[in-house]
């Protein structure tokens, strides 16, 4: 570790991994509820499990992004973090607030939680991914501001690199677009229109800047390729992201009451959104091929190569599959969407966070540049287990989705939703089995942290 304040990244990474485990357990509960309808009913209704699953996902990714920033920014800026104390305080605030919110979901009926937190005074709850009580949302904003202050001040007083600048823009964008979570008009169309300013402009906008920046950092460190080359690539990639992705928001404005010209705009621009993901693949493989050193952390390189490949598949290929409006007319809000959501989130954001953790954690634990080869073998097994499992989850959901679309929306005698769901239950069983393999991969991942073995020479 070059700067002692980088150490604050460690609790962030540990919390991220812990919440990841929780996310997957609730995923498996829901997967079972899909085929065994009243499993855990009425104690944990499906909607509660779902908000726990998706909110844990978002929160642990945010922990991962923050940890990444605390690790990477001092090194890029060549200076200590502005305030390690603030970083640690915010860690506990965020963790406790997050835990209380999740407990609230699980222990109080949702309408009770709404009453308890005064949702009627400032209603923001009850929308997908934005289920948090308003008070939690305000807490998120406060934590984000403190975090951004810390990171911004660090960069201002130190060296300004493209990587840290792009990260900073991405993180500010994340906070700014989150503010639309507070806009909840009674007009459903307007509500939906601006809801996507949070969701779409996050994952297909500013988060991609964060993704690109973290990936570029790991590649510089593990390949030793000239910074100039990497930074040029980074600029081109994120330029393509925003050029295609901002107006690409239109692929969500086909059927929610918005004007029909969005069908053209959304289709054309979002059809171009796979380009930056494809460039990321070329970029990562080129850099690794041109490497100037053999970094001992093979696992980190594997994650860094896996990220763009899986992001391209999940976001690029599976996104393209349903993004043209004549296709989306049939696939909108089906298992096709769920299939895409899983592979895209895993490939882009889960994997990039695991990549920076893989690179940084050994150093944070004082293990020189890498874990022992034995620990890395375990970690690489977990890479393959989780990645192949998510591929199968995606394939099974896609199978379910195709049948669902056919039986419910295309065939001459469209059948009711519930009838169709029963007919395609086999696919949900297979998804659940793949999910169990994912959990096994995650356990292997956890074990890899506890494997010692001989250490490399201390740096």
């Amino acid at each position: 570790m070059q700067y002692s304040s980088q150490a604050v990244a460690k609790p962030y990474f540990i919390a991220a991994i812990g919440l990841f485990v929780g996310q997957i357990l609730f995923g498996l509960i829901m997967g079972l509820q899909y085929v065994w309808g009243d499993f855990l009913f009425p104690e944990i209704p499906f909607n509660v499990a779902r908000m726990v699953h998706t909110n844990l996902l978002i929160v642990w990714l945010l922990f991962g992004f923050m940890g990444a920033a605390y690790y990477l920014v001092p090194e890029e800026a060549e200076t200590e973090l502005a305030s390690p104390k603030l970083a640690l305080a915010l860690f506990w605030i965020f963790l406790v607030a997050g835990a209380l919110t999740i407990l609230g979901y699980l222990l109080v009926p949702y309408s009770g939680l709404a009453k308890l937190t005064g949702n009627d005074l400032f209603p923001t709850m009850g929308r997908e991914f934005l289920e948090q009580p308003t008070i939690t949302k305000i807490g998120i904003v406060i934590v984000a501001l403190g975090f951004l202050y810390n990171i911004t001040m660090t960069i201002l007083k130190g060296r300004k690199t493209v990587i840290s600048l792009v990260l900073l823009i991405g993180l500010w964008g994340l906070a700014v677009f989150f503010l639309f979570a507070f806009f909840n008009p009674a007009n459903l169309v307007l509500d939906k229109f601006y809801w996507w300013w949070v969701v779409h402009l996050w994952v297909e906008g500013v988060w991609e800047l964060i993704l690109g920046s973290i990936l570029a950092f790991v590649l510089i460190k593990t390949t030793g390729v000239d910074r100039e080359i990497i930074e040029k690539w980074l600029y081109v990639i994120i330029a393509m992201t925003l050029i295609t992705g901002i107006v690409g928001t239109g692929h969500h404005y086909y059927w929610i009451g918005t004007p029909e010209y969005w069908q053209w705009l959304g289709s054309i621009f979002s059809a171009l959104e796979p380009i930056p993901f494809f460039m990321m693949v070329i970029f990562a493989f080129n850099m690794v091929n041109q490497r100037r050193r053999e970094h001992p952390n093979k696992a980190a390189v594997l994650w860094a190569l896996g990220t763009p490949v899986m992001a391209f598949l999940g976001a690029g290929v599976w996104g393209f599959m349903h993004t043209l409006s004549p296709v989306n007319y049939y696939t909108h809000g089906t298992q096709i969407t769920a299939a895409h959501g899983h592979m895209a989130f895993y490939g882009a954001y889960v994997m990039v966070v695991l990549a920076i953790i893989s690179y940084a954690m050994p150093i944070l634990r004082g293990r020189a540049a890498a874990n022992s080869p034995r620990a890395q073998v375990w970690e690489m097994w977990s890479f393959w287990l989780m990645t192949i499992s998510i591929v199968f989850i995606t394939l099974f959901l896609t199978g379910a989705g195709i049948l669902q679309v056919w039986l419910q929306r295309v065939s001459e005698n469209p059948e009711p939703f519930m009838v169709v769901q029963e007919k395609i239950a086999l696919f949900y069983w297979m998804r659940e089995v793949a999910g169990v393999f994912f959990l096994v991969g995650l356990v292997v991942y956890l074990i890899s942290f506890f494997i010692g073995g001989e250490e490399e020479a201390t740096a």
Partner: protein, 144 residues
């Protein structure tokens, strides 16, 4: 990448592209706001509908159902349920009221929310209003 294409050029494309397309997006948003009154059924957006939306949100119906194709994929689409139930608010109310608290054995179950008559009526009114939004012909058929 080639040497003639410099980092400065890449940077300018990033900033220029981001600003240009964001402004374009804002302009389109402005235009959309102008078009919405013709499509979003706001003439029927009464106090009761607003209350219904609040009941909808405070019980997290979106955590199992889709509404205009967005939400969860566990239970039927509700954007057109008013029409599917024969343009009947009463049928919607009766359905929600009749959910057994312990669920339906072996079947995906919907909770019993114990809503008041006023809340039920508002909820049904909200679903009626939603079904009258101009969604460009979506969903493809009555099954949602």
């Amino acid at each position: 990448m080639s040497e003639t294409f410099t980092k400065t050029m890449a940077r300018n494309i990033f900033y220029g592209g981001a600003v240009f397309f964001f402004l374009l997006f804002l302009a389109l948003t402005y235009d959309t706001h102008g078009e919405l009154p013709k499509r979003d059924n706001r003439q029927n957006l009464t106090e009761k509908v607003a209350m219904g939306k609040m009941v909808w949100e405070e019980n997290d119906c979106i955590g199992c159902h889709t509404l205009l194709g967005e939400g969860a994929y566990f239970a039927p689409e509700l954007g057109n349920v008013y029409k599917r139930f024969g343009n009947s608010k009463e049928a919607i109310i009766a359905f929600i009221k009749s959910r057994p608290a312990e669920g339906v054995e072996g079947r995906r179950s919907m909770p019993q929310f114990n809503l008041s008559d006023e809340e039920l009526d508002a909820l049904a009114e909200f679903l009626k209003y939603t079904s009258e939004i101009n969604t460009a012909g979506w969903p493809p058929n009555i099954q949602g």
